[in-house]
Amino acid sequence: MPNSIIRLENVDFSYGNKKVLENVNLNIEQGMFMGLVGPNGGGKSTLIQLVLGLLTPDKGKIHLLNQPIEHFKQWNRIGFVSQKANTFNKGFPATVFEVVAMGLTAKLGYLHFMKKKDKQRVYEAISLVGMEDEAHRNIGNLSGGQQQRIFIARALVSEPELLILDEPTVGIDYQNVDRFYELLHRLNQEENITLLLVSHDTGVLTKYATNVVCLNKTLHFHGNSEEYTALSTDYLSEIYGHPVQVVVHDHG
C-alpha cells in the first residue's frame, strides 16, 4: 500500500462567519503529482495554509507523513514555494547560492554551521533546476522565471519528500511555463518527489499532473488527470460558477 503523504479528513475552516472549506477529504500518496484547481476564493490557498500548519482547522483531522499535524515537527521534509516568493525585495544583496542555502537553515538547526557537504548539497540543488552557471550572481538580476527556479532549489535543498507550490507560474513568461512544468515533471519522476501544485491554469497543469482535485469550498472532483480532462465543460462551469473552457494540451 502506498504511503500517505497528506491526509485530510472532514476538514472545515471558516474566516469569521464565512465558511471557506467544508468537509474536505483528500489523500495524497507518495509519488503523486497532484494538481489543485478551482476558482479564486474557492479555498485553495487556505487549504495550503492548513497543510503548512499556518492555520488550524475548525473541524477534522490533518495528517502529514502519517503523523497528526499537531505533533508534526519535521517541517524540513516538506518544501514550499509560495505565491509570494516572487515579491521578495529585489534589491536584497544576496547571491543565488546564499538564497538556496537558506533552505538548509531549519534542517541544520540552531548553532550548526554549514559544512562542506552542505555546500555541496546547495550546488546540487542549484544544478537540479539548471541554474549552475548563475550560482554566484545576485538574485535580483535574474529573470522572473529564473528566480522561481531558485525558490524551487531553496525548497529542494533540504531533500523534501513533498513539494508544495502555490501558483508558482504567476509572473513567469508564457514561453517559460512549459519549461517550468518539465522541471516539475522531472523532479516527480526522477527524484521521486511528491508534488502538490495549486493553479488556476488547468490547461497546462493537466498535461503534467498525475491527479487533479477541484476545490470550491468542497471537493468537487478527485481523480486522475485523464478523467479530469474528460469532464464536460458544463460540469466544470457549474463548479466554477461561471463558464470555463478547458484547453487540452497534448502530451509531447
Binding site: 499556518l54 536584497f92 544583496p93 537553515t105 531549519a106 541544520l108 554566484h136 545576485n138 522572473g144
Partner: protein, 283 residues
C-alpha cells in the same frame, strides 16, 4: 593624534571604542537596512537618551556615581520590547510602534533633563558624541556588548539572514521567527547603547545605515555587504575621530559627514563601473 593616543588614556579608550562600534554598528545595520527597519535605530536611540537623562538625574539627585550608559542600555532594551509589543498589537500597522516609542523617548528625556536642572556638558556629549568622555569602565562595558553582539550574530547568522530575506519561508520551514526577531531587536538596542558615547544619540542610526547604504551599491552578496560596510564604517570612524579631535568638533558630526561623503563616492563608483545599478531596482 597617534602620539597623543599613547600619551593620553582617555584618547586610547575613545579610539578603541570607535574601532569596536565601527565593527558592530554596520554588522547589525546590514540586517536592519535589508529588513527596511532603519528607523528602528532612531526610535531606540531616543529611548536610550531618556535612559541616559534618567541616569544623569539619579546621579545628580542621589550623588551616586555610575555610568548613565547602564540606564541608557536598560531603557533601550525596554523600548525594543515595547516596539515588539506594539507591532503585535497593530498587526496591519507594524511601523506605528516606531513613532510612538521615538516620541515617548524624547518626552521622557525632556522631563528628566528638566528634573536634573537642565543641560550640562555630559548631556551635550551624549547628544553629539565626544572624544574625551569614554572612561575605562565605559570601554569595558562596550567591549562586553561588542563581544556579545558579534557572538550572537556569528551563532545565529543563518537564521537572521533567512528571516531577513523571507519571513514567511523562515516560519514555514520551522525557524522560530519571533524569537530570532526578538534577539535581533535586543542586539540593536545594545549596539545603540554602545555607540552613543562616540557618535551621540542623534547620529547613532547614521552609523548603522550610511555605510550599509554605500556598500549596497557595490555588493553582490550579503557577506560582501557586511564586509564592505564594516570597512567603510571603520574608515569613517577613524578619520572622523582624528579630524574631530584636531578641529575640536564632536566626533558624531565628523563621522556622519565623512560617511555621507563615502556614500556619494559609492554612487560615483557605481555610475562609472556598473551599467545596471542595484539597490532600489524596480522590476
Amino acid at each position: 593624534m597617534f602620539s597623543d593616543i599613547i600619551t593620553f588614556d582617555f584618547l586610547r579608550h575613545t579610539f578603541l571604542t570607535g574601532l569596536l562600534i565601527g565593527l558592530i554598528a554596520p554588522l547589525l545595520g546590514s540586517f536592519l537596512v535589508v529588513r527596511r527597519l532603519s528607523l528602528l535605530a532612531d526610535a531606540l536611540s531616543h529611548v536610550t537618551l531618556a535612559g541616559i537623562a534618567f541616569g544623569l538625574f539619579i546621579e545628580k539627585q542621589f550623588l551616586i556615581a555610575f555610568s548613565p550608559l547602564y540606564s541608557g542600555m536598560g531603557f533601550s532594551i525596554i523600548g525594543a520590547v515595547l516596539i515588539e509589543k506594539l507591532r503585535s498589537l497593530y498587526k496591519a500597522y507594524q511601523e506605528i510602534g516606531i513613532p510612538i516609542i521615538l516620541s515617548g523617548g524624547v518626552g521622557l528625556s525632556v522631563i528628566f533633563i528638566a528634573l536634573a536642572n537642565g543641560f550640562n556638558t555630559d548631556l551635550f556629549g551624549f547628544l553629539f558624541g565626544s572624544v574625551s568622555a569614554v572612561t575605562i569602565n565605559d570601554l569595558y562595558l562596550i567591549s562586553a556588548i561588542s563581544i556579545f553582539v558579534i557572538l550572537a550574530i556569528v551563532l545565529f547568522y543563518k537564521e537572521l539572514l533567512t528571516l531577513s530575506f523571507d519571513e514567511e519561508h523562515a516560519t514555514v520551514s520551522g525557524i522560530h521567527s519571533k524569537r530570532i526577531h526578538f534577539l535581533f531587536i535586543v542586539l540593536t538596542a545594545l549596539v545603540i547603547a554602545a555607540s552613543i558615547r562616540i557618535v551621540g544619540v542623534l547620529l547613532v542610526s547614521a552609523l548603522m545605515t550610511l555605510p550599509v547604504a554605500a556598500a549596497m551599491r557595490l555588493a553582490q552578496s550579503f557577506k560582501q555587504l557586511m564586509v564592505l560596510s564594516i570597512i567603510l564604517a571603520e574608515f569613517s570612524v577613524i578619520t572622523g575621530l582624528i579630524s574631530g579631535y584636531y578641529a575640536n568638533i564632536p566626533p558624531g558630526g565628523t563621522i556622519v559627514v565623512i560617511s555621507i561623503i563615502v556614500l556619494m563616492l559609492a554612487f560615483l563608483w557605481n555610475k562609472i563601473t556598473l551599467k545596471h545599478p542595484k539597490g532600489d531596482r524596480v522590476s
